[in-house]
Point group: C2
Chain length 312, copies 2
Amino acid sequence: MYLKSRLPREMNRKMNSFDLNSYILYKRKQIDGALEEILGHTSNPSRLINAMKHSLMAGGKRLRPILCITAAEAVEGKTDDVVRAACALEMIHTYSLIHDDLPAMDNDNLRRGQPTCHVAFDEATAILAGDALLTLAFEILSSMELTNKNHALKWLRVVNTIATAAGYKSLIEGQMRDMAAEDILLSLENLEEMHALKTGALIEASIITGAILGDGSLEQIEKLKIYARNIGLAFQVTDDILNVEGDPAVMGKDVGTDQTHKKSTYPSILGIEKSKEFARKLVNNALQSLDCFDNKSDPLRAIAHYIVERKR
Amino acid sequence: MYLKSRLPREMNRKMNSFDLNSYILYKRKQIDGALEEILGHTSNPSRLINAMKHSLMAGGKRLRPILCITAAEAVEGKTDDVVRAACALEMIHTYSLIHDDLPAMDNDNLRRGQPTCHVAFDEATAILAGDALLTLAFEILSSMELTNKNHALKWLRVVNTIATAAGYKSLIEGQMRDMAAEDILLSLENLEEMHALKTGALIEASIITGAILGDGSLEQIEKLKIYARNIGLAFQVTDDILNVEGDPAVMGKDVGTDQTHKKSTYPSILGIEKSKEFARKLVNNALQSLDCFDNKSDPLRAIAHYIVERKR
């Protein structure tokens, strides 16, 4: 008991010596560079490629690819080995945003301060640009190491991990449930399940992908799964809290929209204080799961703190 | 020269002893059974699964999966090894039809005599059902042989072959060009390129997939590529011809629609007789490419004939 309750504070102390902002900026640049390289070789890009780039290069947080690379580093893998997989994960995340924003779904006009894909281009092009990013993810996941049998096995596992997380039992079913849940009061259990499907599964797959490509042990992968599930949910709980008490100027978007749209959220079900307590508990669970890792997992620890402490 | 000109007739003779109809019916049943098995395990299927099944089980020709299995057999591979890859190819074909039929694209209400996915369900569900079939294809392509290094390499090559053919440089770019070509007169070269992208690439990938999984030699794969390119284009030329002089009762759909919509087609550019001649030439090219194969490739020969002789 003593050890368990002491753990988070120890982690906190360790984190002070680690500059997460610089780390994230550096990784983001690396990922953006790799994404540019994959899509940027055409001197006269097609309308389709321009639409793919419009959404892919619109300046996202790059949380999933960073988690992928950071997990690989935690098991002592090298960044170079996983950066293409990290790009594939960002492509799949971006495709899901393009399709979610469509008029037939959330009908959003702005994303990351820029016109959504169907507004900047047209609906048909946006549907196809999403399709193309999803397909390109699997093309680049399978394009390396085609002559190395040991590596082929790892990459095939990665394809399977990501396709399962992005598929009809996870991410896409999550979006179906999110749409069906409009104006309906969800139970805490149903809310948690929806988030686990819609965002949790791909966050978990990002971390597992890094661990597989970094040659993590089965035990390490199991621990990282626990980490992933906890920070994935903590991320969503914090999103809900920021929608209640965030600063619109800092967030760059309106707050209070969940209440306006009568969305079931953690604050609407648990209240704001219990939601914050729940988020902290999730982060502590995540930190404890990293107990058996050395300081190479410091970035993962810092990201867990960042996820609940962020202001936007 | 003598050998070359004699070849098609010889093939014709061989074909008389081969019952293509029974062969296709048998394979179709095998593929439909495998597709049912993949999607059919839930006693209480979600709306998403029902939408995926609606389009996937609507009774298509199953040309791509049959070609995949038939190519594997031509290089002496076993059907059991490739049937899941064949299913993945049909899923990708079906996803592309669901998205092409959407109101933002071709806005079609009927497909194979049944309401299109967005009519039977709704637009959002149809977009997500398409996404889900595309993603499931890659899930099942990577779900086998995860412990066998030799097999992993083959399956990773298959993932790459199919993702490339279905991606932004092929199938999806073909659909972009098809939409852009409405009311525009295309040159023969542009028409051929559009078809090579939109339908040719996935037909070629189907055949190559079968050959890879059936352990075909590099030389065999090269020959099968030539076969694939020729029958892929012959299929499209014949479609155009049937749209001019097909029997609506036999076809189960209207004819003359290409002319009404001012679409560039082979008959509109070459005239009907030269189009027929061109289709026959393509089939002869396809048959010649099978010269080095034994009678295990008889089904491929029969399919080449069927593609231009069909009445619907």
